[in-house]
């Protein structure tokens, strides 16, 4: 509960609610996913378009 006090490099929040919110917004736009595989495929696309593009990866 207070590991962050002794270890400054440890963040005290995981921002899980933010991540859930991001994912729910994606789901809402698509009105859900038909299959688990479709969900994973979309996550991969999300990685490419949002996270990897910023790093100028091919």
């Amino acid at each position: 509960m207070v590991t962050y006090l002794d270890h400054p490099e440890v963040p005290r929040c995981g921002h899980s609610e933010t991540l859930i919110n991001v994912w729910r917004q994606l789901e809402a736009v698509r009105r859900g996913f038909k299959s688990a595989q479709g969900r994973l495929d979309h996550l991969k696309l999300f990685h490419v378009t949002h996270y990897l593009r910023a790093q100028n990866l091919p």
Binding site: V2, L5, W23, L43
Partner: protein, 217 residues
């Protein structure tokens, strides 16, 4: 991830960059080992975190200790505060409901209006709260309202002002020794949660005694 539409999902994210790493639906008839399999999959992909932050689900500390033994463990501060504050908020609501009759009508309204102010750290009070809450406290001296106000400040002190774990432990133990909060069941539950050894060092003892997070996966 919380249930919505009758299903659960497990989500792994990067806390520092706030990025979603992986997402997996939990099987409808999940049993033991689902969370561990999820962590092992991440481990197999070469994800070896130095620290794992999780919500109050009791499974995580055990699983993380097995899969990533050297990783620090930290209960998500948001969830800890959410859990503690739900006790404080409910204590205020219950007290407000107990104020029956036309004589208390205005006071009930005032309490309703200022309930978030009461639960806010004193340093962050706005001008309205600075003006009204001290006046209100004269009326509610010795009641749950005053106890909640004091208790909340003690919690802020533990989580925000403490300089080290030992300091936080000492403050928590000092609070637990006090008697003024014992009359309120909800404040007692909060202290019980704070004193739970698992909540402070997740892997130390049995997890079933943890006040929060009774869900198992």
């Amino acid at each position: 991830m919380p249930r919505r539409g009758g299903r659960y999902e497990q989500i792994a994210g990067d806390a520092k960059r706030i990025r979603i790493l992986y997402l997996e639906p939990v099987p409808a008839f999940y049993g033991r080992g689902v969370t561990e399999a999820f962590c092992r999959r991440l481990d197999g992909w070469g994800i070896h975190p130095s620290c794992v932050i999780f919500d109050l689900l009791t499974t995580f500390p055990k699983v993380v200790a097995r899969v990533w033994p050297p990783a620090y463990q930290q209960f998500d501060h948001f969830h800890v505060m959410q859990w503690l504050w739900h006790y404080l908020r409910n204590a205020l609501i219950q007290f407000r409901k107990s104020l029956q009759g036309p004589r208390w009508a205005l006071h009930r309204e005032e309490l309703w209006e200022l309930k978030w102010g009461l639960l806010k750290q004193m340093d962050r009070w706005g001008p309205k709260e600075r003006l009204l809450i001290p006046e209100m406290m004269e009326l509610y001296a010795g009641t749950v309202v005053e106890q909640v106000l004091l208790f909340k400040e003690a919690l802020w002190d533990i989580f925000e002002v403490s300089r080290s774990k030992a300091d936080a432990y000492a403050k928590r133990d000092a609070l637990a020794q006090e008697v003024w909060w014992r009359a309120s069941w909800r404040l007692s539950k909060s202290v019980e949660f704070l004193r739970s050894p698992n909540a402070w060092s997740p892997t130390s003892t049995t997890l079933r005694s943890l006040g929060a997070g009774t869900r198992r996966r």
